[in-house]
């Protein structure tokens, strides 16, 4: 199996899907000759040309809206938003047009399209190159919202997204684009289904749940806990809408203690949904209240770039709280 980093897994999956299906097209700013500012579309332009690798004007509304129109006519567009926060120029297209099309036409029209966007902090990008806007999309009915953390999952979920008959919002943790390399299946039909979390490690003292970029810090926290003699289960949600409630409840019920880690702001964040669900369903199995470790409810800062991210120190502090409750 080829070994690649996360951004290479995006490019290689796009290559394979474009080779498989002529209806798959890529559009966005600088996705053509430049290969994308992160090189997620590297090489596509040379292979498939300007008709299928469309350099768009600098307009997210045009990118998302045009992708919708193309999908209505039977194509499978993959739109790139250069940085997740720029999606707000096209947010109305996502929320008003894309998310509701199947519903508002009773399934007569559908939008089988993907909007990919690099998201997350830790890159010294200030508040407009660092945010995690997944909550906005998870709050909008009609979208699948996906946030993988590994090259293999990204490849498998991007392929699932391209072949999905529903619109998919795919967040890519940009600070992990080149952080890790791993084997990625070369199977042209390798897919990771939505709605299935993965248990990265299993332990008995505490459950750590996270997704996306924060999986890196969560994994480091789990290693530090090992050194302290605390054994942890680590769950990577991967998929937010739908999310894998069963896996989370099963492990939290078994262990009784859970810390929920997400670098997006705490207020109405996705982990608030997870926390509420845990207490609604398995309150009696809990040995401590679920604790969220989140990004603060500030705009993403520049100078305190790393401090904003929930790092191992804050995660370990939360674990101490649930262990000592």
């Amino acid at each position: 199996m080829p070994v690649m980093n996360l951004v290479q897994s995006v490019a290689s999956t796009l290559h394979a899907e474009m080779a498989r299906d002529e209806g798959v097209v890529v559009l966005g700013e600088d996705v053509g000759k430049r290969g994308g500012v992160f090189l997620a579309t590297e090489g596509l332009y040379d292979q498939y040309g300007p008709d299928r690798v469309i350099d768009t004007p600098l307009s997210e509304a045009a990118i998302v809206g045009a992708a919708l129109g193309m999908s209505v006519l039977g194509m499978r567009p993959v739109a790139e938003i250069q940085f997740a926060e720029y999606v707000f120029h096209g947010f109305d297209q996502v929320v008003s047009q894309v998310a509701k099309l199947r519903y508002r036409t009773a399934g007569k029209f559908t939008a089988p399209m993907v909007v990919r966007m690099p998201a997350g902090g830790g890159v010294k990008g200030g508040h407009h190159h660092s945010q995690n806007p997944e909550t906005h999309f998870a709050h909008t009915a009609g979208l699948h919202v996906i946030y993988p953390s590994t090259p293999s999952d990204t490849a498998g979920m991007l392929r699932t997204a391209i072949r999905s008959d529903d619109p998919v919002i795919l967040f890519e943790p940009k600070r992990l684009y080149r952080a890790v390399k791993e084997e990625v299946s070369a199977d042209p039909d390798f897919m990771v289904p939505f709605g299935q979390a993965v248990v990265r490690r299993e332990g008995d003292d505490v459950v750590l749940v996270s997704y996306g970029g924060s999986m890196a810090e969560t994994a480091r926290a789990a290693e530090a806990l090992d050194a302290q003699g605390v054994s942890s289960t680590v769950i990577d949600l991967r998929s937010l809408v739908p999310w894998d409630r069963d896996t989370v409840l099963e492990h939290v019920a078994r262990v009784g203690r859970v810390v929920l880690v997400s670098e997006s702001p705490q207020m109405v964040g996705f982990m608030s949904e997870v926390s509420a669900t845990i207490t609604e369903h398995i309150l009696d199995a809990l040995l401590a209240p679920p604790i969220r470790v989140s990004g603060p409810d500030t705009p993403y800062p520049y100078a305190q770039d790393r401090a904003y991210l929930p790092g191992p120190r804050r995660i370990l502090h939360a674990v101490q709280k649930v262990l000592n409750y």
């Binding site: 809206g65 006519l73 297209q93 008003s96 508002r104 029209f109 009609g142």
Partner: protein, 365 residues
Amino acid sequence: MIQESSRFEPFQDSPIRVLSDAGEWIAPFELDLSNETLVALYRQLVTARRVDERLVRLQRQGKSSFVAPGAGHEGIQIAIANSVRVGQDWLFPYYRDYGMACAAGVPLHEIFGQMLGTLADPSGARQMPSHPTSAPLKIFSALSPIASHIPPAVGAGIAQKLAGKGDVTIVSFGDGATSEGDWHAAMNFAGVQGVPVVVVCENKRYAISGEFQKQSGSDTIAEKARAYGMPGYRVDGMDVLASLYLLRELVERARQGFGPALVDASVYRYGPHSSADDDSVYRPAEEVAAWRERDPIPRYRRFLESRELWDEAAEEALEQEVAAQIDEAVKTAEAAGEPELAAMFDDVYAEMPWHLEEQREELER
């Protein structure tokens, strides 16, 4: 790559007209439409007006929550429906375009089903009234957020261009839409890509109360086309033949690969913006009356009569026929019944996820 239409010049000071207010043919070229076509257009104009009137009445009777009346827009709307190959080309209408939808062949019971929120609505009663659509006729689903359907129409044009079959798209909207970012983003992308899309502004001079001078820094909508690399035409949108001749040329031009064009069709909305609006607050009654003098329907009738294609007997027969069709359609639409409660959970996704299944069960308990 601007190739201009052969009959009409873009960016002119006054709108293109082929019929005078009195209904005389005033174009510098010969009329070459068949008598059958000429009469069919009139039937569509009258049908659209009577449907509109019935929709307004149904709303006032409390049978429908809302209506955005289209009276005054029929000329350009009927022209749009008659300028494309319906079912092969795409139409991206806005919410006031049900006159166009009727003329394109959307069955009247579907129009009324949509307005009444019954299962006769092909959208399954999911949208508020005045949001027509038809998948088999390739009429995209109209939506409330203004101009949000225009970037998708450009995407349709990109898909049509890539497919290379010579299909085209017409997208229509009101004057207020031209202030939205989506409009400019779409116009620019259309110009860049050279898509086969004809962009039609039904310029009724008021966006609810917002008069044109407060909407646009330029004197016309048409001249905005220049900035996007496409020709812009002004047309009297209450002159169905001028609108049809112009659109047919621009559709053909797009079909041949010469790219998009913008049409600024001047019309007048006789009614309020919607059933929730009181237009007397912002428009003088004399102004409305003056525009009624130019009503597309009597004007076109005078034209037909002058060519001995229409008379009082034909008029009476048509009115009876249309009234009967509408009565029947309303009856069919009402009889279809309303959707079940649980149907609100369908079609959010291709397959219902667990959280919706549980919420449906909870609601039905």
